[in-house]
Amino acid sequence: MRIDCKHVWKHISAYIDGDVDAALRAEIDRHLETCEICSAVLDSTRNIVVLTADDRVFELPAGFSERLHARLDRELDLPKS
């Protein structure tokens, strides 16, 4: 049985994470060979996942770490109750 596009979309996230079983992976791979739409949906989704993981997308506010450790220093100096 040939799976349809919707079926592929349903598993795209798991497919990207390598979280589909071998049989389903083979079916999806077979579908992707001939479906340019699903190939593009998969490629764009995977591309977006890779880009969002880049440290340049979400950066800590400037000085965050310095302020955190300065506050911790004040706390560490207090006697523990």
Partner: protein, 209 residues
């Protein structure tokens, strides 16, 4: 040896509890980003997230003797961060219309992706263009809260499913379902906008300016 190494963490914790308090800086440092972004996801405000992150670090320090080592240290820290964030949200609840409880998983329905017939890979170097990062941030910040949290921990902090589930207090199945929906929503919103960031031509160096 890094602080994500459980033996280093256990040793560090023993020594801190034994009086070498300054070691706490090294213990908490690798968790800073995850603490901040989890709180930013919950509170949606940089100032509140930073303040809550500092409170979280102090609570971790004061409660360090309670850490049993049956979870990863970072997971335990993130549970404390989450409780700190949720506590603040509850205090704000009467000022907010969208309560956390309203955000459940029953939003079913099909997540139809943006239909494309081809996709040209956008290389990470494209992030040198500030607009690209801004588009990604805006799309992620615009996700419903339950999806945003999962994306922040799974795709941005690159935590595994199990750790994400424990930190957010949800099942591993819920992590997977929410991540799937979040990625589908991001693809639908972003794919059409991002096409312009693909390299114009494929040259020897890949990325054409």
């Amino acid at each position: 040896m890094t602080a994500s190494d459980p033996e280093f963490e256990a040793d560090c914790i023993r020594r801190i509890l034994g009086g070498e308090k300054q070691l706490f800086h090294e213990l908490i440092r690798p968790c800073e980003r995850a603490i901040y972004f989890l709180l930013f996801s919950l509170l949606r405000n940089e100032t509140d997230a930073e303040d809550a992150a500092q409170e979280t670090a102090i609570k971790v320090y004061l409660n360090l003797h309670l850490f049993r080592g049956d979870a990863q240290f970072r997971t335990w820290v993130l549970s404390i961060a989450r409780n700190e964030g949720l506590g603040r949200l509850r205090k704000q609840a009467n000022r907010r219309e969208d309560s956390l409880d309203a955000e459940t998983d029953d939003q079913t329905g099909d997540y139809t992706p943006a239909i494309l017939t081809s996709w040209r890979e956008i290389p990470a170097e494209a992030l040198e263009r500030k607009e690209l990062g801004a588009l990604l941030r805006k799309a992620i910040e615009g996700l419903p809260g339950i999806y945003r949290n999962v994306v922040l921990l799974r795709d941005i902090e690159e935590m595994d499913v199990r750790e994400t589930a424990v930190a957010l207090g949800i099942t591993e199945g819920a992590v997977k379902v929410r991540l799937h929906r979040a990625r589908a929503l991001l693809q639908r919103e972003l794919a059409p906008q991002l096409k312009g960031f693909a390299p114009r031509r494929k040259g020897l160096f890949g990325w054409a300016k």
